[in-house]
Amino acid sequence: MKELTRRKRLRHFLIALFTVFIFVLPFFVSNNYYLSVLVVIGIHTTVVVGLCLLMGYAGQISLGHAAFYGLGAYTSGILTSTYNISPWLAILAGAMGTGIVAYIMGIPIFRLKEHYLALATLGLGLIIHVVFMEEVELTGGPSGLSKGIPYLAIGNIVFNTDFKYYFLVWTVALLAIILANNVVHSRIGRALRSIHGSEIAAQSLGVDTGKFKLQVFALSAVYASIAGSLYAHYITFISPSPFGLMTSIQFVVMAVVGGLSNIWGPILGVTGVTVLTEGLKSIVPQLIPQAGGEYEIVVFGLILVIIMIFLPEGLTSGVVRLYEEWRYRKERADETS
């Protein structure tokens, strides 16, 4: 029991430390480009935290999360630009709507398992993406919403610069992490982990696995939707292309690269993948002058393969394991000396 409270205190301390770090960081970053990358990392982190709850704790894969991200973005975009509804109300509407869609669609989908589940979520994502493309009157079709989406504002503060938006995005991301952390260490979290371990064993012990899987799916969809709304108000223009299959896959990649069963995984995964993509975009043309913007995907793919070969549990667990091996070796060395 004492051990438990100590670990809990350590966890809270780390979260507090990280919060301070996050809110001090922008004062040392003067470059607007770096700030915008940090804002994007914050938005993606919110999505991936939800996805990690679903994948790492409940053990269920989703290859359709970009659609929920898109649903949030489009609800915000359409309600604020076409119907002049308050952005905050629109975000709330998007989150609730997406949660309900996810819950209802989840009822048949979560009867499926493993690869069938992956495919069903992928199909759901593609169908929603096709709707974005084809409902031209509502969504503007492939060329996107024609009317501008307003910036978010609280009273007189308008979030129209990267610097201001950074604080908004990361406040949301941190709240998402803290909420997820509480869910994980609650009764629901233990139930979810039991599903990951063995769904049949969990069921036979009286865990309503179907209900928990649906709830965590809906929660992760709400996370994605809020992140999508934030994206829409950040870029102030949306088209269907960022909400396709590649984005869904990218979210899963970020989650897996970071490591699934740790609350720091999403931050590490999103930061790692984003910094890698952005870094390669600027480094590759310097090394090979004739190379265009897209050639970095070769390097990206290979690095992904290498990470998965050497750290199959993701960066977080990989780092922890390396540290423990180092400590073990050090202890051994101390004993022998």
Binding site: M55, I61, P108, I109, R111, L112, K113, H115, Y116, A118, L119, A120, L122, G123, L124, L126, I127, V130, V131, M133, E134, S198, I200, A201, L245, M246, I249, V252, V253, V256, V257, L260, A291, E294, Y295, E296, I297, V298, V299, F300, G301, L302, I303, L304, V305, M308, I309, P312, E313
Partner: protein, 293 residues
């Protein structure tokens, strides 16, 4: 055009694409059965097959040697890939292995972009001649090549499964991997064999479809996905299921595009897929029921 001939038209073009999906789906099923991996790079094998073929034919190699050479080249590339990446990842979980195949497919697509650029390449049809008219519908001769090749490859595959050592060993791995191992079947060799065989299937699909759809560096993604859908519709572990799933998907897509809306083509295919999954959660040919724990 009357409705009947219109339907026949959709059926014929559906069969053409369905044949391609069937070949890709078959590759999925073979790799999945032997290794348990969902290989997201399957579509890239198709693209590589088409690209090698276009390049070789462009360099003046006659059609038949070019075809054989392209297939062998893709097999070598995939063999290296299996040897270098899949085999090294011994400790990886199934999800990590899937991510590895996603990484490989991204890398292959990137290399294709470096080598061949973004332009679509066109391959001359295997035989010259105008479209053939059947009962009010028209079909280009290349479609017959596609359907014929698919049929021939499928016949060959089933022959191999039934009558050769490698085929039987592969089936043994499908039935029970552990027992197969006890009988002296080397799972590593089988994994390599499954990947290389699937590569050959994919490459052939890419070569025969090249004159109809053009070859682009990014054609693999959607084709791979459709193949995956077809494989799952067929139950993911059944080879005849994969073939029927592929052909059914091709026909459904073509009917949906023709009768409802071409923009919703992909959407319709996936709505049907979801319905199939909801009604028969183990795929049309899959077994779904109690599982020993």
């Amino acid at each position: 055009m009357s409705l009947a001939s219109e339907l026949l038209q959709y059926l014929l073009s559906g069969l053409t694409m369905g044949g391609i999906y069937a070949l890709v789906a078959l590759g999925f099923v073979i790799i999945h059965n032997v290794t348990g991996i969902i290989n997201f790079a399957q579509g890239e094998f198709v693209m590589l097959g088409g690209m090698f073929m276009v390049t070789l034919v462009g360099a003046g190699v006659p059609t038949v040697p070019a075809l054989v050479l392209s297939v062998i080249l893709v097999m070598i590339v995939v063999g290296i890939m299996e040897f270098g990446a899949i085999r090294s990842a011994k400790r990886a979980s199934p999800v990590s292995l899937v991510i590895i195949t996603i990484g490989l497919s991204t890398a292959i697509r990137g290399i294709a972009l470096l080598v061949w650029g973004t332009n679509p390449y066109r391959l001359e049809p295997f035989t010259a001649g105008g479209p053939i008219h059947i009962g009010g519908a028209t079909i280009v001769p290349q479609s017959l090549w596609v359907i014929g090749t698919t049929a021939a490859v499928l016949a060959l595959t089933f022959f191999m499964f039934e009558y050769t050592y490698w085929g039987k060993a592969l089936r043994a791995c499908v039935v029970n991997k552990f027992a197969a191992r006890l009988m002296g079947i080397n799972p590593q060799k089988m994994s390599l064999f499954a990947f290389v065989f699937s590569a050959a299937l994919g490459a052939l699909a890419g070569i025969v479809i090249a004159p109809i759809t053009y070859v682009t560096y990014d054609m693999g993604l959607m084709l791979g996905l459709k193949g995956f859908v077809a494989a799952v519709m067929g139950g993911l572990s059944s080879t005849p299921g994969a073939v029927i799933g592929g052909i059914a998907l091709g026909v459904i897509e073509s009917l949906g595009a023709g009768l409802v809306s071409s923009g919703y083509k992909d959407g319709i295919a996936f709505i049907i897929l979801l319905l199939v999954l909801f009604l028969k959660p183990g795929g049309i040919f899959g077994t779904f029921g109690s599982k020993r724990v």
